[in-house]
């Protein structure tokens, strides 16, 4: 599915601020995998996702998605196969456009964008039907602008937009960190549901170790640009938050929350 070979990324090369963000990582994602990623601040989690999605070009290595080498592809081209949700709820939608207009942009991700009408009646019905599944009443607010939504509603909408065009890979960068606990739970449950779409693999960064072990089928821990733990199956089922802290000397208070 996704194959990363010897990926390396250094920021500020040759300056006093030089920092190795990704240190020769090899990583293999199987179809249908739902990987949770943990690690303290600056471990390279977000950089890993940003390198995969093409926000940053990588210094060395290869990124292969579904048998296709995408290492040199610009960000917007990779987006055809990759859905993304950012930490900041403001980043995921066009705030001055309506909910249905935002959905149309997401829905037409893989079709030609020309002078066709932005949304037609048939699409509106599809959107309404699917939005109802979110259980947030958004289906009755399709003509409202995205800026009127709460953080939780916006993140739910963004998540929905990220999967509506059936990507192969879903990248979630702490997408519940800015939400209140109730909204975070709701968005996580939606994430769990969407991740079961056939043919979709998911990578989710979280600061909540309990969530990291509870959701998905595989967990990796990053430290100083390396993957220092990669567990799945029985090993993961036996893992607890306490054991994680003990084994990997995690001293980040925020991760305990």
């Amino acid at each position: 599915m996704l194959k990363i070979e010897k990926m390396h990324k250094t920021f500020g090369k040759g300056t006093i601020n030089e920092k190795v963000a990704i240190d020769n990582i090899d990583f293999n994602l199987r179809p249908g995998d739902f990987v949770t990623i943990i690690g303290s601040n600056g471990a390279g989690k977000s950089t890993l996702l940003n390198c995969i999605s093409g926000v940053f070009p990588i210094d060395k290595g290869k990124i292969i998605l579904d048998g296709k080498n995408i290492t040199r592809q610009p960000e917007f081209k990779r987006s055809k196969f990759i859905g993304r949700v950012f930490q900041d709820p403001l980043k995921g939608t066009a705030f001055d456009m309506t909910i249905e207009e935002n959905l149309s942009i997401a829905y037409n991700k893989n079709s030609f964008r020309g002078l066709q009408s932005g949304i037609n009646r048939k699409q509106k019905e599809v959107f309404r039907e699917k939005l109802a599944l979110l259980g947030m009443g958004l289906e009755d607010r399709m003509k409202q602008k995205a800026k009127l939504l709460s953080g939780g509603q916006r993140q739910a909408l963004t998540l929905f937009m990220a999967v509506i065009s059936k990507p192969k890979l879903l990248l979630l960068d702490e997408h519940t960190a800015a939400l209140d606990p109730g909204a975070a739970k709701k968005v996580l449950e939606l994430t769990n549901r969407f991740s079961k779409e056939p043919g979709l693999s998911t990578m989710m960064i979280t600061h909540n170790m309990k969530d990291a072990l509870q959701y998905g089928n595989r967990t990796i821990l990053m430290k100083e640009g390396k993957i220092v733990m990669d567990i799945s199956g029985d090993e993961r089922a036996d893992m607890t938050v306490e054991k994680l802290i003990e084994q990997f000397e995690i001293d980040n208070d925020r991760m305990l929350l």
Binding site: E75, F76, S79, R84, L90, E101, I105, N110, Q116
Partner: protein, 301 residues
């Protein structure tokens, strides 16, 4: 002392042309969220192209088409400077505007102005061939209406959605497989295309093109956008487009009235700057802008 009827009509006729300029500025300033200073240059490019065609006896409509194409090119250059060479948008616009001065002179055959008093123009055609009252104004209204409708439908297409979203949130559009750089090129090209079209029409309306006529046009465009939105509202896309157009008309009327009341021509720029500042302030404070709210804030301190 109010405007005479003739002066009032003149302001309305010009307003229809400046409304096209305002719509062009709207496309870059509001839709793409990029304040573009190319306008001061590209409007002259449009005027020059249109005047040259008219002065050699060409079809005035061909002149306008050529003006539009010249504007497209000018906007494309600004956008490429911004997206490919990573020059800040304001600076990219200034550079192109600066360089266009020489190009405009070349188009005009190294003359600082081209008179069209003896040439056919669209407005002379309207006066002679349209057997209606106020032919110049009616023609201006019709052209403006067509352009507003084009804008409305374009901004409602898939590619229009992509353009609007690029101005709202660049990170988001790239995540949805939209080439944000390409959208900026498209937006700035179209924006300057319409600005140049307005320049072409202006040259035919006033029967001359002058290489210095562009000075301050970007400010007039911005003033029209801001004034129109503050007065007529932004509720829906169509209303917003009409508001921006009416803003240009209102601006022309204010300026004409100010001159009538004895404003020295040399003070025009200061007055324009003041109008924009007031309109921006009204926009920022929304409907709650009143003297009371100002005093209330002072007391609270």
């Amino acid at each position: 002392m109010l405007l005479t009827f003739a002066a009032f009509m003149g302001s309305l006729e010009q307003g229809m042309i400046y409304a096209i300029l305002a719509l062009g500025v709207f496309l870059s300033f509001r839709t793409l969220n990029l304040p573009d200073l190319t306008v001061d240059g590209s409007i002259v490019t449009g005027a020059a192209a249109s005047a040259v065609i008219c002065s050699i006896g060409g079809n005035p409509l061909l002149g306008l088409l050529l003006a539009f194409i010249c504007g497209l090119l000018a906007g494309t250059v600004t956008a490429l400077l911004n997206t490919k060479l990573k020059i800040q948008p304001l600076l990219a616009g200034i550079l192109v505007m600066f360089g266009l001065y020489s190009i405009n002179l070349r188009i005009m055959g190294s003359r600082p102005n081209i008179p069209l008093t003896r040439s056919d123009t669209l407005y002379k055609w309207a006066e002679n061939s349209l057997h209606i009252e106020y032919p110049k104004l009616i023609m201006g209204v019709v052209i403006l209406a067509i352009i507003i409708i084009l804008f409305f439908f374009f901004l409602k297409t898939r590619i229009g959605f992509a353009l609007r979203a690029t101005g709202d949130n660049e990170d988001m559009v790239r995540a949805y497989a939209i080439n944000s750089d390409g959208m900026k090129v498209l937006g700035l090209a179209l924006s300057n295309g319409f600005v140049a079209l307005a320049g072409g029409m202006l040259a035919q309306y006033q029967s001359f093109a002058d290489v210095t006529m562009g000075t301050g046009m970007v400010v007039i465009g911005l003033a029209s956008v801001i004034l129109g939105e503050a007065i007529f509202g932004t509720k829906s896309l169509l209303r917003r487009l009409i508001a921006v157009s009416l803003g240009a008309v209102v601006y022309r009327l204010i300026i004409a009235q100010a001159f009538k009341l004895g404003l020295p021509t040399s003070d025009l720029k200061l007055v324009s700057a003041a109008i924009i500042t007031i309109a921006l302030a009204v926009g920022a404070f929304g409907g709650n802008f009143s003297l009371n709210s100002l005093f209330a804030k002072k007391e609270a301190k």
